[in-house]
């Protein structure tokens, strides 16, 4: 495996900064504790609007450069107004963008120049679950299929290793693949 970053390779990822951060956080693991946040407001019907702005990390409060907003709704076949992507589609968006960011970073680290990376995601779901028709049917996805199309200066095996390593290091892949405790409270 190549670990030195070739000067000619530029995927727009600042690997040196990431490696410095890794070294610093190895020495000070407390600073590695992050808290991510989202705030959500009901608009009308199944339409809601969520905002992300602040998060906690490196021992202090942090902010995104700007506030990002996300409308979520359901499509018209669910008798909704379709004012935004369905929540479950945001999960696919989260998984896709996490894996893709990982691919770019690991490629940079391994000295692989990317020319194009695109992913197609499909999550199968039997809505008998959420509709309460059949209690044996799970609410969520029965599986997710991610298909990457990658053009890069690397062998097929190196590209496969890149995609495998990205899954190994992905936060969203871990969240989707493994159980997570969730606490929902009312103020």
């Amino acid at each position: 495996m190549t670990t030195t970053t070739e000067a000619s390779v530029d995927n727009g990822v600042n690997v040196e900064a990431l490696l410095e951060a890794k070294a610093a956080l190895t020495e000070a693991p407390e600073a590695a504790k992050f808290i991510w946040r989202a705030n959500c407001k009901w608009v009308n019907g199944t339409h809601s609007n969520s905002v992300v702005k602040s998060f906690f990390g490196l021992g202090e409060e942090q902010n995104h450069r700007t506030e990002f907003t996300f409308d979520a709704d359901h499509p018209e076949v669910f008798a909704s107004e379709d004012n935004g992507a369905a929540p479950i589609e945001y999960v696919l968006v989260g998984l896709a963008s996490c894996l893709t960011a990982g691919i770019a970073s690991i490629a940079q680290h391994r000295g692989i120049q990317l020319r194009s990376v695109s992913a197609t995601l499909e999550g199968g779901m039997d809505i008998q679950g959420i509709l309460g028709i059949d209690s044996e049917v799970r609410n969520g996805f029965d599986g997710i299929k991610v298909t990457y199309d990658i053009d890069a200066d690397a062998s097929r095996a190196d590209i496969e290793a890149l995609v495998a390593q990205s899954q190994k290091r992905s936060a969203v892949f871990d969240i989707v693949a493994n159980p997570t405790n969730i606490t929902v409270e009312i103020k």
Partner: protein, 400 residues
């Protein structure tokens, strides 16, 4: 180490908790064989001289081999001696044991990397109908109840358990995290021969790009059998063993498994491919290419489309859970500030962060082979040299 210290005229004693080769006698299963071929069983001044250099020692043979070495060296071993504490006071290590106390300027920790079995925190939350055991307690399938067995961990140990337990008529489900796959024999030679020849086993701790990661690599899926068989996830699938993802947690009576099975199998298949590429390149560069069998690549690991993500542990189908999830060293008797926040000993290639203290036998201590029998010699030579220099420095300092 004892041999190297004797060669360097350093007066020493070897304290052994039980008898020589104790952990092989008391903490291993019956069918165990070494993962390394006989020709590779080499210790300083001593090696296998039997008639089957390509075979793998079984448990009695391993015990004989180590016993034989102790007798060959006339090593100053004091058996049945349990060290209860090691502290540092008045420029000396103070050792307390059940057989009296010792003082010394130097101490070599060689109590083993594989002492305490790793068991997940949620072990205690399994339904009471389930019997749980660890590899040091396992002897053979006969000791297990009839019925299903969940083997957690698919490195050499877990895979061998899955194989022999399933063959005993107890249906096995195997939970799989990251693992290292390799063929037993490649291009007609033992994989250990290739790794030895190509210098993979001699790679040094200060040469690899990430030693923390290298030290955490699981042991390869290998088994020593008279037929030199390859054991991997495909071979146990052929027997009927069910493969599922890493054991992720317990919810009520249900064990939950990760959906990452496909990726951990891809990672292992790709890593094996890279190892075989390295071997092929080495064979080509060293004019071996025509003298061995042709290059080969193996089928990808077969994974079901939708392996189960949870299993009911209370319905009686699974009776036993075996945690083949690795071991860690036991440092509970060390009264010294030498452990990091993860409980691992701080050392630089075996030179512990405490004057005159050394550690041996840990995974990738100084070289990739450090935790193997044949890895002890080079490490012992290096560390005994360091130890001699340290004692000389002590002598110089105290004479001023």
């Amino acid at each position: 180490m004892s041999r190297c210290l004797t060669e360097r005229s350093i007066d020493h004693v070897v304290l052994e908790q039980g008898e020589v080769a104790n952990s092989w006698r008391k903490e291993r299963w019956e069918s165990l064989r070494l993962l390394t071929p006989n020709w590779q069983s080499k210790l300083p001044g001593y090696s296998y001289d039997g008639e089957d250099p390509d075979g793998y020692m079984d448990l009695p043979a391993i015990i004989d081999f180590i016993d034989g070495y102790a007798k060959f060296l006339s090593a100053p071993v004091q058996t049945d001696t349990t060290v209860t504490s090691v502290a540092y006071k008045n420029d000396r290590y103070q050792l307390s044991t059940n057989q009296g106390n010792w003082q010394s300027k130097t101490v070599v920790l060689a109590s083993g990397a594989f002492k305490i079995p790793n068991v997940p925190l949620f072990n205690g939350t399994l339904p009471s109908s389930i019997t749980t055991i660890t590899p040091d307690q396992y002897r053979s399938p006969d000791q297990l109840e009839e019925g299903g067995v969940l083997v957690v961990g698919a490195s050499a140990t877990g895979l061998q358990f899955a194989d022999e337990i399933h063959r005993s008529g107890r249906p096995v489900t195997l939970a799989i995290g990251e693992h290292v796959r390799m063929p037993r024999v490649y291009r007609g030679r033992d994989i250990q021969w290739w790794m030895d020849a190509a210098g993979v086993l001699d790679e040094r701790y200060d040469e690899v790009d990430n030693i923390v990661r290298a030290r955490n690599v699981p042991s390869p899926q290998l088994v020593g059998t008279p037929g030199r068989l390859t054991m991997d996830l495909n071979s146990v699938t052929d027997l009927g063993v069910k493969l599922i993802g890493r054991f992720a947690g317990i919810s009520g009576n249900r064990a939950q498994f990760s959906g990452s099975l496909r990726n951990v199998c891809s990672l292992a298949d790709l890593k094996m491919g890279r190892l075989l590429d390295t071997i092929d390149e080495w064979a080509l560069d060293n004019a071996m290419d025509d003298r061995v069998e042709g290059s080969e690549r193996y089928p990808a690991t077969r994974v079901d489309d939708a392996p189960p993500l949870s299993i009911d542990l209370a319905n009686g189908k699974i009776r036993t859970v075996i945690w083949a999830t690795g071991f860690r060293p036991d440092y509970s008797w060390l009264d010294l500030p030498v452990l990091d926040r993860k409980g691992q000993i701080r050392h630089d290639g075996g030179v512990v962060d405490s004057p005159g203290m050394y550690v041996m036998g840990l995974t990738f201590l100084r070289r990739r082979k450090s935790s193997f029998i044949h890895g002890a010699g080079d490490d012992a030579r290096d560390l005994s040299d360091h130890l001699v220099t340290y004692l000389e420095e002590c002598a110089t300092t105290s004479s001023h």
